[in-house]
């Protein structure tokens, strides 16, 4: 019954993480960067569930972690989008490359 091995889950999570990282590092639109972060977070959640299924005795520890993670991700999106709006109002742009006030 249990035919899909752990490695597949991890591969899928790694791919998702790489896609998310790519989006964060390369895309210019700040909203898409935010979406990339969401994807990276979900790949981490996927890892939690996979390890929970294969190694946890009660098999629920990872799922509870994941629930917390989803909650935090929702909050993070709310804060992140609020920041994006604030930055947009300030800088009149959504291009990540344009926002470089941290420059020394």
């Amino acid at each position: 019954m249990n035919t899909i091995p752990l490695t597949h889950f991890l591969m899928l999570a790694a791919v998702l993480f790489a896609i998310g990282l790519y989006g964060v590092l390369v895309r210019k639109n700040v909203v898409i960067v935010l979406m990339g972060i969401e994807i990276m977070m979900n790949s981490a959640n996927l890892n939690f569930i996979a390890f929970s299924k294969f190694y946890s005795a009660s098999r629920v520890t990872g799922q509870i972690f994941t629930l917390f993670g989803i909650t935090i991700a929702a909050a993070e999106v709310a804060v992140g989008l609020a920041l994006v709006i604030a930055i947009f109002r300030q800088a009149k742009t959504v291009e990540v490359q344009e926002i470089d006030t941290l420059k020394g």
Binding site: L21, V24, L25, V33, V96, Q97, I99, D100, T101, L102, K103, G104
Partner: protein
């Protein structure tokens, strides 16, 4: 009465304060300066007189003839340096003499210095001098005495050189200062010797012993130092002789007498006060003060013979001088020599008695000569005077009284004091007695020569001489009265010499010698007759009538035995050549060395500067520039874009992963 005695230090303090205040006065505040100087001097005079009368009426004065006010000045290590003041008969006598003569000279100076532009300064110096002299006589410590001794020397210097625009006056001031300093070296060594041997410079002690305390004197009289040629000499002899060197300088004894005649370049009131009555008597006073130490020591014959020789030596020079003040200056040297002779023969009373009487009549003579000079518009050469008795009657009569007193004519003061000295010599040492009598003859001769040249005959100068103002005549009158009567206090016929009792608290038990009185009077009258024969009979022409009589000797006397020339050729030349030699040493060796050192330092510093510039500064600058450039380059990676930072983090993570893989 004790209250007053314990405040005797006020006497020198008044003129000192006056001098200090006048020093800040401007040149045109004549009235303020004179008022202040007079007020201070009058206070000192009154206080001195009060002290004197209290002393005389004090019932216990016959037991304690000495009041001491000793106190510790400072403590060096564990030894307190005790100084103090003393009131004893000798001090009282000197206090009276100094304050009276000072006061009269102050009055006289009002007239004499009236036209001088440095009038205020004159009174400042004069007050300072009086203060120092009064401090000298009341000090109970050789330390204070020495300080005041140097202070009066300084005042003498300042006042001789008062008209410093005259090169002679400036030179005379320097000469006086340096020649007396030669004697002071001896004085100072004596001081050190006494301090080394006794541990104190106090004269009389109350609780601590002083130098003149009996036990200290005994130890000094029994200890000796052995010298290569002289053999063993007692400490009293050595210390006494050394202290006497100081007295020789100050009191112008041979061979240190050369400064006093030149000191006549100063204003005449100064000559009267400092170089006749008070400061030059300080040497005699010192010998009198240290008399308990000197008494019976080997220094006494030395003192007596120095004094006797100086007396005769200076009297012979005075015979052939033409400057009215120089005659008096040599006369002063001669009389000081007589005093020294008396003290050296053990005649403590006789020496001090003559010191007192001489102060009055010699001050009178100097002030009289000043009046003559004033009346003759500054002329001092006696050949250009003559006949002044008509124009200047008061000056003439007072001068005559002074001359008679100095010549020792009965019953003026000089007679009694000179008689006391000659009597002492007659009893102790016949050779010195005849020297003294010859001096008396010469004294009478040169003084009457002066009278004839200045006051008798016809006027030989230019212009019209005039009598001096009353401020100058009144001091003359008062001093004339004093010169007549002051000698009576030391009369042997009156209560066995009251002055003797005053000074020693013992009655003079010896009987007066009529032989000595007659011989000295005879010598004086012979001197007067000789002078009358030579100068009083014929009108005086260009030449001195004495010159053809003495021929070449007169020239030698006029040139003062060529002493100045001798000193000029020997000591002065030696000193100047030494000075030149050392100047060359200075220039070549010291300066050369310094110059080279300076040059080397300069070169070294230039080298250092180069190193600094090249290595230190350059290197530092380079390092700074490098750091700045590196910082600039590194700052490029701080772009401010969040994506770049995240990229670095990602790359870092990958690198870390690869690193851990490799391990």
């Amino acid at each position: 009465m004790e209250y007053l005695f314990e405040r005797c230090w006020l006497i020198p303090l008044f003129p000192l304060v006056a001098a200090g205040i006048i020093a800040f006065f401007k040149n045109d505040r004549r009235k303020g300066a004179t008022l202040l100087a007079f007020f201070a001097m009058a206070l000192s005079l009154i206080l001195s007189c009060l002290l004197f009368f209290f002393y005389l009426t004090y019932p216990k004065a016959h037991e304690v003839n000495r009041t001491l006010i000793n106190f510790s000045w400072f403590t060096s290590g564990h030894t307190p340096e005790v100084i103090g003041f003393i009131i004893d008969p000798l001090t009282l006598m000197m206090l009276l003499v100094v304050t009276i003569v000072s006061f009269l000279v102050f009055v006289y100076s009002l007239g004499y210095m009236h036209d001088d532009s440095r009038f205020v300064r004159f009174f400042c110096f004069l007050s300072l001098f009086s203060a120092s002299m009064l401090g000298l006589v009341i000090s109970n410590s050789l330390l204070i005495l020495f300080m005041c001794w140097e202070l009066v020397g300084l005042c003498s210097y300042l006042l001789i050189g008062f008209w410093y625009e005259k090169p002679e006056a400036a030179a005379a001031a320097k000469k006086a200062f340096i020649v007396t300093r030669v004697g002071d070296i001896g004085f100072f060594i004596g001081l050190l010797l006494l301090y080394h041997k006794t541990g104190t410079l106090l004269l009389y002690g109350e609780t601590l012993p002083g130098i003149l305390s009996p036990e200290v004197l005994n130890s000094l009289k029994t200890n000796a130092i052995t010298f290569p040629f002289f053999g063993g000499l007692l400490l009293t002899t050595i210390a006494g002789a050394l202290l006497f060197f100081g007295a020789m300088g100050k009191s112008a004894q041979f061979p240190l007498h050369v400064w006093l005649p030149d000191a006549m370049e100063g204003p005449t009131p100064v000559s009267a006060l400092i170089h006749a009555a008070t400061m030059v008597a300080a040497g005699v006073f010192l010998v009198g003060r240290m008399f308990p130490l000197l008494e019976g020591s080997g220094a006494m014959p030395f003192i007596a013979w120095t004094g006797g020789f100086t007396a005769l030596f200076a009297a012979t020079i005075a015979v052939a001088q033409f400057d009215i003040k120089r005659v008096l200056a040599y006369s002063t040297i001669s009389q000081l020599g007589t005093m020294m002779m008396a003290l050296g023969l053990g005649g403590y009373v006789a020496g001090n008695f003559h010191l007192m009487t001489h102060a009055f009549f010699k001050a009178l003579l100097f002030l009289g000569s000043g009046s003559v000079i004033h009346g003759c518009q500054g002329e001092q050469h006696m050949m250009k005077m003559g006949g002044l008795r008509k124009e200047m009657p008061v000056t003439f009569w007072t001068y005559l009284i002074g001359t008679l007193a100095l010549a020792g004519i009965f019953p003026l003061s000089g007679f009694w004091s000179k008689d006391a000295i000659l009597l002492e010599a007659f009893r102790q040492n016949r050779s010195l007695y005849w020297i003294g009598t010859t001096t008396a003859f010469l004294t009478a001769f040169y003084m009457f020569r002066q009278i004839f040249l200045v006051f008798m005959g016809e006027f030989r100068g230019h212009g019209k001489p005039h009598e001096s103002p009353p401020t100058m005549l009144w001091p003359l009158r008062i001093l004339a009265i004093l010169s007549i009567f002051i000698g009576l206090v030391g009369m042997p016929f009156l209560f066995h010499n009251p002055f003797h009792y005053f000074l020693t608290l013992e009655h003079d038990v010896s009987s007066p010698s009529y032989f000595v009185m007659l011989v000295s009077s005879g010598a004086a009258i012979l001197g007067i007759l000789t002078a009358t024969l030579l100068y009083g009979m014929r009108p005086i022409s260009k030449e001195d009538p004495l010159a053809p009589v003495l021929k070449g000797v007169f020239r030698i006397l006029e040139k003062k035995y060529y002493m100045d020339e001798f000193y000029e050729k020997t000591f002065v030349r030696l000193t100047t050549s030494l000075a030149h030699f050392f100047k060359e040493v200075d220039r070549v060796l010291i300066d050369g060395f310094l110059q080279r050192t300076g040059f080397a330092t300069l070169a070294l510093s230039q080298f250092n500067q180069w190193i600094d510039n090249f290595f230190i500064n350059n290197g530092f600058d380079k390092a700074c520039a490098g750091i700045r450039g590196g910082g600039g380059k590194l700052s490029r990676i701080q772009t401010g874009r969040a994506q770049d930072y995240l990229f670095y983090a990602a790359v870092g993570a990958v690198v870390l992963y690869l690193l851990f893989r490799a391990l």
